[in-house]
Every structure is written in structure tokens, then in C-alpha cells.
């Protein structure tokens, strides 16, 4: 790690202004090193620097000498989701933001659809301008290999969490005014959605023999000529099976999966209760994610209709979906 590091020296009292000063660097900002003995100016420099990196705790090492503040940025984290989103993130939200995904009517598969809808709902809840662009090769274009991704100026950001982080850097956030406890609960419920509903959707779409044969695989391969259509669908199915085997989902029976979904919905229903949104009167990231998952599951017609009946048991969740739909997707 140390070998990859760069040492930057910047004269004190002159905050780095241009994005070039920072270059393509990401990392951990070591919290303990900077707390003590910093002047207000130094702190402001550090804050400026940090605002240029998308994930706040990133690798920047500070060192104060006589008149210089040197800091070292470890070029390491470049996490798939951090991408090129760091520099210049303080620029305003551009006009020509595009959300890339596959074609909804013919191509997209259930698990991908939930993710795309969640990101779209999140951007709409933030009130940001963007256009949805459908491409048959959206999955291969995406920097992380997963849909959806947004293109904002020169930056490409894929998947839900990184998009939330990127939008947050631009000054838009749905969870800014929440208490720490609420926010940690929100993150926990979001993890639950990913962990239970996300895996259950993959399981149903790709492992259920009937659904995968009749719906998922034909849809996944629809934009390719024979024989690519079945080769690619088969490869994708193998990848999903490997993934679900790795986290012990493939060995579950349909009943067990349905039971898991039921538990998840029960927890969501309890959390939502009679409120308008999960945390009061305004939406949060969790609302976007829940909407993405449940709305897709409720409206997608699959042979056997596995989860629809489970979700319909919870009246408040179905109403919640309708509410979000009419409030944010009415155009």
C-alpha cells in the first residue's frame, strides 16, 4: 500500500483549489492523526480535501511541519463504486445526466429491474433532472458490470449505494437530518433488503426451473442472435448459481425462500407501521429501495407468482408502493 502512495506538499493557508492538485487519488483518511493541534485554517484545508473524496473516511495522511501541511493520499481504494466520482464532485448537478439500463419491456430481468427502479426512484425523490436511456448492452457498459449506472458529466457511477454517495457529494441527500440511530436503522433495513429480497429475487429468477426457462433466460438473451442468446443466458445462470451457492442460498427450498421473504416483509411492515414513509413524512434512501423491490415484485407477472401473494398480505406495504408511485412516477 505504501508503495503506491504519493506525497503532496501544499503551502499552508492556501487551500487546494483545482481538482488537479488531488489527481486520481482515493483512500482512507486517518481520523486519529489530525484531531490534535490543528488550526482552523488547517482544518478547513482538510475539509476541502475531504469534500473532494467521495467516501469521507478515506486514506489521507496528514503531517504538519513548520509552515507546510503535507498530506499523503494512498492510491488504493478506487473502489468500484468510487470510480471517477471523486474529483470535481462539488460541481453542480449537470443537466445531461443519463441513467443507463436495459430495455424494460423485453429485456430486463427481475433482479436487475428492482435495482434500476430503486435508483430511478431515489433520483426522483431527490428531485434531480435525469433521463433514462435504455441500451441492450447496459450491463457490459457498466463499470462494475451491474446495472444501472448513471453518467453525470465525465463520471460513471453504478449501483445503488455508490449513486447515493455520489449524489450526496453534490449536496443532495435524503437522510441528512436523521439522527444517528435512525440512520443506522435505515442502513440495517437496506442491508436486509439486499440480503433477503435481493437474493430471493435472484433465486426465483434464475434457479426456479420454470421461471428461468420460460421468462428469465429468454428475456436475458432476447437481444442476441442464435446461438448467443442461449450461451449468454446459460453463462449468466451459472454465475448466479455460483453466487447463490457461495452465500448458501442455492441449497434452500422454495418454501424456505418464501419464508425468508415473508420474514423480511413482516419486518418492513412493522417498521413502516401507519407512517407515510419509513422515517416520517419525507422519503429516505430506504423508501427508494423498498419501492424498487416491492413494486417490481408486485407488478411482474411470473409463472407461479411466487412472492406477490406474500407481499399482498401486508396491506400497508402495497399502499406504500401505490403512494410512492403516484407521488414520484405520475408523469
Amino acid at each position: 500500500m505504501q508503495n503506491l502512495s504519493y506525497l503532496y506538499n501544499i503551502p499552508l493557508f492556501q487551500p487546494p483549489t483545482s481538482s488537479k492538485t488531488i489527481g486520481k487519488t482515493w483512500g482512507y483518511y486517518h481520523a486519529r492523526n489530525h484531531k490534535n493541534n490543528l488550526s482552523a485554517t488547517q482544518r478547513s484545508i482538510i475539509r476541502t480535501l475531504l469534500s473532494a473524496t467521495i467516501f469521507s473516511p478515506s486514506t489521507i495522511w496528514f503531517q504538519i511541519e513548520k509552515d507546510r501541511l503535507s498530506f499523503k493520499v494512498l492510491e488504493m481504494a478506487l473502489v468500484a463504486d468510487a470510480l471517477q466520482a471523486t474529483i470535481g464532485a462539488s460541481e453542480p448537478w449537470p443537466d445531461d445526466v443519463l441513467l443507463f439500463q436495459q430495455y424494460k419491456a423485453e429485456q430486463i430481468t427481475l433482479p436487475d429491474c428492482t435495482q434500476c427502479l430503486a435508483v430511478e426512484a431515489f433520483l426522483r425523490m431527490c428531485g434531480l433532472r435525469f433521463n433514462v436511456k435504455c441500451k441492450t448492452n447496459a450491463e457490459e457498459m457498466s463499470p462494475s458490470g451491474k446495472v444501472p449506472f448513471i453518467q453525470a458529466g465525465p463520471y460513471l457511477v453504478s449501483e445503488f449505494d455508490p449513486v447515493v454517495g455520489f449524489v450526496g457529494r453534490k449536496g443532495f441527500s435524503l437522510s441528512r437530518d436523521m439522527s444517528d440511530t435512525d440512520r443506522s436503522e435505515m442502513r440495517a433495513y437496506m442491508s436486509m433488503l439486499e440480503n433477503i429480497l435481493g437474493n430471493a429475487e435472484l433465486y426465483m429468477a434464475w434457479l426456479n426451473p420454470e421461471i428461468s426457462k420460460e421468462v428469465t433466460k429468454p428475456r436475458y438473451g432476447c437481444s442476441y442472435p442464435w446461438p448467443l442468446n442461449w450461451v449468454l443466458a446459460w453463462r449468466k445462470q451459472r454465475a448466479v448459481i455460483a453466487r447463490l451457492t457461495a452465500n448458501d442460498w442455492s441449497s434452500k427450498s422454495v418454501e424456505e425462500v418464501t419464508e425468508e421473504v415473508h420474514t423480511c416483509c413482516l419486518a418492513l411492515s412493522e417498521k413502516l407501521d401507519k407512517k407515510k414513509f419509513f422515517f416520517g413524512d419525507s422519503p429516505t434512501e430506504l423508501d427508494a429501495l423498498v419501492y424498487g423491490h416491492l413494486y417490481t415484485l408486485l407488478t411482474t407477472k411470473l409463472p407461479g407468482g411466487p412472492f406477490t401473494s406474500v407481499i399482498r398480505e401486508f396491506q400497508n406495504l402495497a399502499e406504500f408502493c401505490k403512494r410512492v408511485d403516484s407521488a414520484y412516477f405520475s408523469d
Binding site: 468500484a80 442491508s191 436486509m192 439486499e194 448458501d248 413482516l266 419486518a267 407501521d273
Partner: protein, 330 residues
């Protein structure tokens, strides 16, 4: 019916912990919290386990291996610590359990099995010592493979490098620790004064992180900054597992004594020299054997020229029919 006692097989403990495995610890803690009359067997031999791993709970001829299965079975048998919770709190238990599995577990798997230094210095030696001989050869490797698959397939991808996956996994784990710390606040347990199954899981994940002597300690460093989480783990250890703490202290004393003995005792040196000479001799003979054998297996690429064979037939017929391709047999 109830006369038959439940049997719980878990991995052996070390470093003052009743077990080294997060899942075993979680089950142990859950049993302690709810006072399940369970017979704990600390072992290192997963020969009889259906999955080759622990924990395994055996009762009435059935074996339960997954933590969630064990919890729900105990709950069914009316041994639970979650009955006091409101429905809302139960929902939180589900959510935070998922959070732990989604965000913290990959980092722990990475730390124990995929970080080369930890794996070579701590994990493999520990399991090699704990597991009896023939199994110890391949079980750690198998578990490592499983852990690698889990982390890479759920967190990585073909367009994401290993470094990026690693950074992502640890970042998420640290975030998860922060979230847990916020959730806990100043309370004694997650939901007040009584421990729940969530507390059992949290204890299971955090205790080894806090106590095990791991060389790659960025998560450990982060954890000790979350004071309230450390406090809970230590409290649980002191309250529910005092025996293991005592054991460790005794062991420590013994080791200190031993090290004192060693520092004064030079009698081990001749042995060491002999070992070195033996090792050197072995290496030399192996090299010699290799040289000898490679000289033997020298590949000889010599073309055997098919000499005009003596029995190539002669034929005196004339005309086109007389053309003959004499076949030299070689």
C-alpha cells in the same frame, strides 16, 4: 422427552474466548442468555459434523448446523431470549442480523482466510493444530476456498480488481461497526437491559476481532474506537464466560514462566543445531536426487532413420501396374 440433553459441538476456544468461530460464539452466547441446558462439546474434530464445520446442535436425533436454524429450533423449544421484544424490535433484529451478514461477515472472512499474512500466521496454524491429522491437510484449504468464493462473488465481480474488493469490504465493515455503535448507544444491550439474539450475533462477530492476535488489525483498530461495543463484548465475556478468561490467564502465566525458563536455559540449542544439520542434509540429498533423476529422464529426441528395409519387396511387372510403393517398415 426433555430428559435428553441438547448437545452443542463448537470449535475450541483460544485467546480467552470460549470458541474462535463467530457462529459458534453466537450460539454459545444465545444459549447462555436464554439459559438453555445444553452440553457444550469443545472440539477440533469436524469428522462427525454433517457440513464439516461447527456449530452443530444435536437433539432428538436431529442435527442443526446453521445459526439461524439453531436459533429458530431453540425458539420452537421455548428457549429464547427474544420473547421480551416488541414486534418492532423483532423487526430490528431481522434487519440488523442481515446487516451483520451483509457487511461484517465478508470482512471477517477476508481477514481470517484471504489476508495472506493472517492466514499464514494465525488461521492456518491454529486450525492445523486444532484439527486432527488427515483432516487438517485439506479442511483449512477448503474453508479458505469457500470464503474466497463468498467474498469475491458477492462483493467483487469480473470488472472489479481484488484490491478494490478488499477496500470495499473493509470500508463496509467499518461502516457497519459505526452503525452498530450508534444503535447500541449507551444502552447495556441493543434493546435495553436484556440481551437478544442480535446481541448474541454481535458478540459472536466482534469478540474474535477484539481478542484474537491478528497482524492485520485495521478492523481491530476501528473496533477499539467504538468504546461501547468493546464494553459489551468484555462484559459478556466476564459475565457469561468467566471460565475461559481464567483459563487464558493461567495459560499466560504458564507461558511467561516458560519463556523465563527458556531465556535461562540454553539446553535447547544443540537440538536446534542438529535440526539445522538434518535439514541441510535433507535439502542437499533432495537436490542431488533431483539432479540424478533429471539426468535419467533426459529426453532423447533422436530420429530413427528408417533404413531401407531388407524385405522391401521387388516386383518386376512392367507398365503402369508395375509402379510400386515399397513400404519400408520401421
Amino acid at each position: 422427552m426433555a430428559s435428553e440433553k441438547m448437545k452443542l459441538e463448537v470449535w475450541k476456544g483460544d485467546w480467552g474466548l470460549p470458541s474462535v468461530d463467530p457462529h459458534c460464539l453466537a450460539v454459545l452466547a444465545y444459549c447462555k442468555y436464554s439459559g438453555v441446558p445444553v452440553e457444550v462439546i469443545k472440539t477440533g474434530n469436524p469428522w462427525r459434523s454433517p457440513t464439516g464445520n461447527f456449530p452443530v446442535l444435536r437433539h432428538k436425533g436431529e442435527a442443526y448446523c446453521k445459526v439461524t436454524d439453531i436459533f429458530s429450533y431453540l425458539r420452537k423449544e421455548h428457549w429464547g431470549s427474544d420473547f421480551e421484544l416488541s414486534t418492532k424490535q423483532s423487526a430490528d433484529v431481522v434487519a440488523f442480523s442481515a446487516l451483520l451478514e451483509e457487511k461484517l461477515l465478508p470482512a471477517l472472512l477476508h481477514l481470517w482466510w484471504m489476508d495472506d499474512k493472517t492466514f499464514l500466521d494465525v488461521t492456518r496454524p491454529w486450525y492445523a493444530r486444532a484439527i486432527p491429522f488427515p483432516l487438517s491437510l485439506f479442511l483449512p484449504g477448503r474453508t479458505q476456498k469457500k470464503a474466497e468464493l463468498r467474498v469475491n462473488l458477492t462483493k467483487g465481480g469480473e470488472s472489479i480488481s481484488e484490491m478494490e474488493t478488499e477496500a470495499k469490504v473493509y470500508k463496509e465493515a467499518k461502516e457497519c461497526l459505526n452503525l452498530l455503535s450508534h444503535k447500541l448507544g449507551e444502552k447495556q444491550y441493543m434493546f435495553g437491559r436484556l440481551p437478544s439474539s442480535l446481541d448474541a450475533l454481535v458478540f459472536g462477530y466482534l469478540a474474535p476481532l477484539l481478542k484474537a492476535p491478528l497482524p492485520n488489525n485495521q478492523l481491530h483498530n476501528h473496533l477499539i474506537q467504538c468504546d461501547n461495543l468493546c464494553r459489551v463484548v468484555n462484559d459478556v465475556l466476564v459475565t457469561f464466560f468467566p471460565a475461559d478468561l481464567r483459563e487464558m490467564e493461567e495459560k499466560k502465566k504458564k507461558e511467561e514462566q516458560k519463556s523465563k525458563n527458556i531465556s535461562t536455559d540454553n539446553s535447547e540449542f544443540p537440538n536446534r543445531r542438529r535440526n539445522m544439520i538434518l535439514a541441510g542434509f535433507f535439502a542437499l540429498s533432495a537436490m542431488a536426487a533431483y539432479a540424478w533423476s533429471s539426468g535419467l529422464i533426459q529426453i532423447q529426441i533422436s530420429d530413427i532413420d528408417p533404413a531401407p528395409s531388407p524385405n522391401s519387396r521387388t516386383n518386376n511387372r512392367r507398365g503402369p501396374a508395375g509402379v510400386e510403393a515399397g513400404v519400408g517398415q520401421s
